[in-house]
């Protein structure tokens, strides 16, 4: 049996689009027919669960019982990939907890595939966070995600400073999430459906919706670019080497 994969999506501050990235990942694996489950740590009520209610469970990642719920079921769950949307500010402590329960050790031994998506904000504090997480992630597949979805500008970043942090993590890769048209983004929020459902003009229960063709087009184009980034870093190969990776047309 293929080894399970855990993807941690985190940021050390709120509002950087962490849940949006988690949503694109769930859609991406869905398009690749890779069974996926998700945990939303925005207890008591999570944003991720609103978009993917069937796949998502809201948990408190700092509680032992919920840690058991996530990690003790990795081998037995139907889902091959587990996406964990870590609440803002909890990335370092979550990684520490993973170290404490021996999870990172299992990842190091190759029993589990482990990846971290670290969503970057626009401030230097966010860069300092890289140094802190670098200390614990070890051999995890580490992706630094520059998220421009809300038109974040990275003005405050001096490239030399950024690179000095970036290089601290062995094998870290950079992913860029492009900007999405504001109205399109808002309409997906209002519809509270996965991006692929919005593109396919479907409601939450698969019923026909009446979304604008223009907005659907913007979302399709944007999601295609995001998935292009995931293809580029060979994300599917990472979690499931055998599956054909170019299925972006599913978004259409």
């Amino acid at each position: 049996m293929a080894r399970p994969a855990v993807i941690l999506v985190g940021a050390d501050k709120g509002g950087v689009g962490k849940t949006t990235v988690a949503r694109t990942l769930i859609d991406y694996f869905g398009a690749h027919q890779t069974p996926t489950r998700a945990f939303d740590t925005e207890a008591p009520r999570g944003t991720l669960k609103r978009f993917h209610p069937e796949l998502t469970e809201v948990v408190d990642v700092t509680s032992v019982s919920d840690q058991m719920k996530i990690f003790d079921t990795l081998g037995s769950a139907d889902a091959k990939v587990t996406v964990i949307d870590v609440r803002a500010g909890l990335l370092s402590s979550t990684l520490q907890a993973l170290t404490d329960i021996g999870f990172l050790e299992s990842a190091k031994k190759g029993q589990i595939t482990f990846a971290v998506f670290h969503i970057l904000g626009s401030s230097i504090a966010s860069l300092q966070e890289i140094a802190e997480t670098a200390r614990v992630v070890g051999d995890a597949n580490y992706f630094l995600v520059k998220n421009f979805i809300n038109n974040t500008t990275f003005f405050e970043w001096d490239p030399a400073t950024y690179n000095s942090y970036f290089k601290k993590i062995k094998g870290a890769e950079e992913i860029t999430i492009p900007k999405l048209n504001e109205m399109a983004y808002e309409q997906v929020e209002v519809a509270s459906v996965p991006f692929v459902s919005f593109i396919g003009n479907k409601g939450a229960k698969g019923e026909p919706a009446n979304n604008s063709f223009v907005l659907r087009g913007y979302v399709r184009h944007w999601l295609g670019n995001v998935w292009g980034e995931f293809d580029r870093v060979k994300l599917v190969d990472l979690v499931s080497p055998k599956i054909e990776s170019n299925v972006r047309q599913v978004a259409g």
Binding site: E182, F213, R216, H221
Partner: protein, 242 residues
């Protein structure tokens, strides 16, 4: 695939090359052929098309998302109406950029709507590059260069290669200067069977205008056939490939 209706985009990145006149002629041609037509005026300034065809024209803009939604959602709506777009030069880049992002041509094809681009050719490099870009990015649309003879002899035609199997150059013959004053003052419809009567046009002038119009309408009919032919060809290719 049998096309149910068509969208024709009259375009050029240059101002004052006769786009609005061409859009008027095309709209009136479809009306003359007994079709339901809606024209879209995408000129930021005078809205000349809307002045000439107020009942048939919707003013539109692509410079904000709401405008884009109003335009493109309407264009691909399920109705058997022929649509003509007078694309102002200032909207050229934005229109085609959005169209490309949202896969407009493919969506139209899925809905059995044929899309044609009438591109007024001029010698400048901006237009040559724009035409080349359309050939590359909108390969499934019918792209037809238009030679407006009023702009000169068209020695630059070879800069605008024709698409294999696509339409030839659509010729827009120059109208005698004395006639222009009649057609450039709204209201004026080329589709009107009593053409020119309202404008108090002398009989010989009227017959000259009708001759000019017949030549242009012949070009449009030829273009219609080309679109139909391209449709048949793609149907045959589709059929033999399955």
């Amino acid at each position: 695939m049998a096309f149910r209706s068509s969208i024709t985009i009259v375009a050029s990145p240059r101002p004052r090359v006769g786009k609005t006149l061409l859009a008027r002629l095309l709209t009136d041609f479809h009306l003359h052929e007994g079709r339901l037509v809606t024209a879209f005026d995408l000129n930021a300034g005078e809205r000349t098309l809307a002045q000439f065809l107020p009942e048939k024209t919707t003013t539109a803009s692509v410079h904000n998302t709401r405008g884009q939604m109003a335009l493109f959602d309407h264009l691909i709506a399920s109705e058997d109406t022929t649509k003509v777009i007078d694309l102002g030069h200032e909207s050229f880049t934005q229109f085609f950029s959005v169209a490309q992002q949202i896969d407009f041509i493919e969506e139209a094809r899925r809905r059995s709507i044929a899309v044609a681009i009438l591109f007024t050719i001029t010698p400048d490099q901006t237009s040559v590059d724009a035409y080349r870009g359309l050939r590359v990015h909108f390969a499934t649309a019918t792209l037809a260069p238009v030679h407006n003879e009023l702009l000169g002899p068209g020695l630059h035609r070879d800069k605008y290669p024709l698409v294999t199997g696509g339409p030839g150059v659509v010729r827009m013959p120059a109208l005698a200067p004395g006639l222009r004053r009649y057609i450039e003052r709204p209201p004026f419809s080329f589709a009107d069977s009593s053409i020119g009567e309202a404008a108090a046009m002398p009989a010989d002038t009227r017959s000259e205008l009708q001759r000019w119009l017949r030549r242009i309408f012949l070009e449009f009919r030829e273009l219609d056939l080309r679109i139909l032919l391209a449709d048949l060809r793609s149907s045959i290719q589709f059929g033999s490939g399955t």
